[in-house]
Subunit: 246 residues, 4 copies
């Protein structure tokens, strides 16, 4: 049983009729909805809840956290971001979706600006699988086609991913590294590009498959945490002070 | 002409007679000393100078920054760390030495705890080159031997390096990833393990060679900075609102 | 149900009383023995069987192939090596053990000499986990200690591994990249250093755990094989012969 | 002074009037032409010369070999391929262009099929730089545009590159990893996609810049070759036969 927490900013859904019509239960609701049919225990949390719904107890119990944000990255408390980061370093999986590239948590884990090109023009995206035997690509075809999406284009200012799983083609002429894995501490991180709030992207079956696969991939390992700090020698050391072997 | 800035906390040298006897001009002085004989313009800066010697003007003119710190990581101002980070993301090279693994700037760029095992026991270290054709290994033999050094042991909590150049063997039974390269933004980062303040490590020729090589490797590229943000399409998009191709 | 095939040269066991006393059922028998207690269907094959026991039917049914060889790499038929390679590229997992670093199949998949330093001196090896959340390290402690093993030392002439999971420390002063993952085609490859024929290494529980973990990690993905060759366009191309847009 | 050897199959140029009209001096002549203006000593060699122009003496003196082939990969002698491979493993740089992806030398170094999708349809290619501070991208803009090129599409069956420098967008809807670096042994390898024989691609300035940069990047390091084989211990080993410490 994997405990999945779907976190959403949930602001577009309140402010924008169009977004509400696409995601009446919020983006978090849509994602939790298709995951609930699986072997996961799924909860949701949103920005405007106390502690953004990310209390110590909730974080401690979470195996994999899914993150969607856009308008209000700046409103996420630094102290909460720090707690989420510590949990990732301890082993919690993190799946960052779409505009979450600019979230505090993703930038803190990457160490870069995470900037990119973007455009809203109802254009076609085709996400090519470039690592077809990666577990996150399991069961997919050669590409995922999205009839209308926001464009994200290179240069995407991220560290070179540990594994590059997907690259997007955009009708307007750009490419983008759309599926990227990282490890940070003992936690696994997956960035997945699609999911602009005005398009029904998260209802598409192959997009759901990627997120399900990513949850499986990102779940914590059976891990005995390494010991850090001062360490006694495991072998005899012949101390040689002042160059004289004692 | 490469502008190199050697930054040192310079506290051990003030407090500790033993360290002062090994590095009478400070660790920064010793490093600047052997670099000055090369084709670099070399300056130094230390923690207790105004703005830690890292003013906007100084940072802007620096091509490669070398960082040594230990006792007083917490005293480095967050705002200065942020400026250094921005310069790295713009393209400034950064070489982090030894106990600098716990500096704010290294942790901010890595996104991890950067924790490790350590021990001071006057033990032997042998740094093996595992990527012998890497420019940072140019002119070196198969390994570098340090008769007495502090031990750093795995697990070293860093992201998997883009390139692993060196691995240390320690007399007391540990190993360590001692030479690690990363890119962050447009800047190149090299972490190099040795250099405990009570040992004459930075006077050793092959250690100096590594640092000289790393400066060459880390110098900024001839780079036209990518454009980020909203982007016009490069190709015609057939807009398909409401599923109807226009 | 994963079909595992343990392949062993099985020559030392015939020629050398000491090896036979350590591995009375052959190294293949020992490895098959501890895997059989798991959820795998395990078979063995050896060099002196017809087609080295690696017929088309056997290879086709194999999900993960484990390879141990030493004395007689040159006797493995090139045509069989080619078939094994094709199966790896199609998705079969491959686990190469110890002296298998010099096998034809490993060298063909790596593209390098796979050469290294070695010594038989009954010395201690300590295998440090440097990627503690990797599935191949699941359930292990910080290191595996082998009281007596053959030494393999750097430089190990392999491509930089996709993931470096383990690094060995040797009593005689060397280090070695001991646990390395690669992908080749759709197949996953894991190289694992220990297992000299005169030591009871494969009876040690944590060594067995690594091999069990590696089998799980290397099993084929749920994969739809990509299509290669001539491809029709997915989008309309405005043909521009002689620089004139038609 | 870097010794560059441009190798070309040189068959299209003999058989096909259109190719001859684009490259009257052969593709090798065109590439040698723009490199000669630089600080390199440049020679050429072609398939139909004795030993394909790749004698032991020539190979020994070559620092960087550039490879273009297409129709006649199968006519390159295996023994010559083996010599070229050995020189790469010793440190010679290798730049593989376009249809060279299917050359024996590239496949031998990669260990995979190197297969891909392709199409000749006079379509536009836009090569995006995804690693803008890489030395191979020095002096380039954000992308290279080729008005008409052959399409190569994913999945490209190569090992994950050590560094991914460029990704192509194609008008017909595909993407491709177009600039990939590898190390094999002590040699550096760069694969660069463009250069179909019927287009004037190698006359374009930014394409020439990439190849010039790649030659600089791939030139051999100042390297002391590691020692392989049986090695004496560097530290005292307390031999423990039969579990008894002697």
């Amino acid at each position: 049983m994997i405990n999945v927490l779907v976190w959403n900013e949930n602001r577009h859904e309140k402010k924008d009729e169009k977004v509400r019509s696409v995601y009446p239960d919020g983006i978090h609701g849509a994602i939790a909805g298709f995951l609930k049919n699986e072997e996961y225990k799924v909860n949701t949390a949103t920005l405007d809840e106390p502690e953004h719904g990310l209390t110590d107890v909730v974080l401690k119990e979470t195996d994999v956290l899914i993150w969607w944000g856009h308008l209000a990255h700046g409103e996420v408390e630094d102290s909460i971001v720090e707690k989420v980061k510590q949990r990732v370093l301890e082993g919690m999986g993190l799946i960052v979706l779409h505009s979450g590239h600019f979230s505090k948590i993703f930038k803190a884990l990457m160490g870069t600006s995470c900037d990119l090109k973007w455009r809203e023009a109802d254009e076609k995206e085709r996400i090519w699988i470039v690592d077809p035997s990666h577990p996150i690509a399991a069961g997919l075809g050669e590409y995922i086609e999205l009839e209308r999406e926001e464009m994200y284009g290179e240069h995407f200012d991220i560290p070179a991913p540990d594994e590059l799983v997907m690259v997007s083609w955009f009708e307007g002429g750009e490419v983008f590294r759309s599926g990227c894995t990282y490890k940070r501490g003992k936690g696994k991180v997956f960035y997945f590009r699609p999911g602009h709030e005005t398009y029904p992207t998260y209802y598409q079956k192959d997009i759901q498959q990627v997120i399900k696969n990513a949850v499986q991939w990102a779940k914590p390992a059976d891990l005995r945490t390494p010991v850090y700090g001062n360490a006694k020698p495991l072998e005899k050391i012949s101390v040689k002070r002042e160059g004289v072997e004692k």
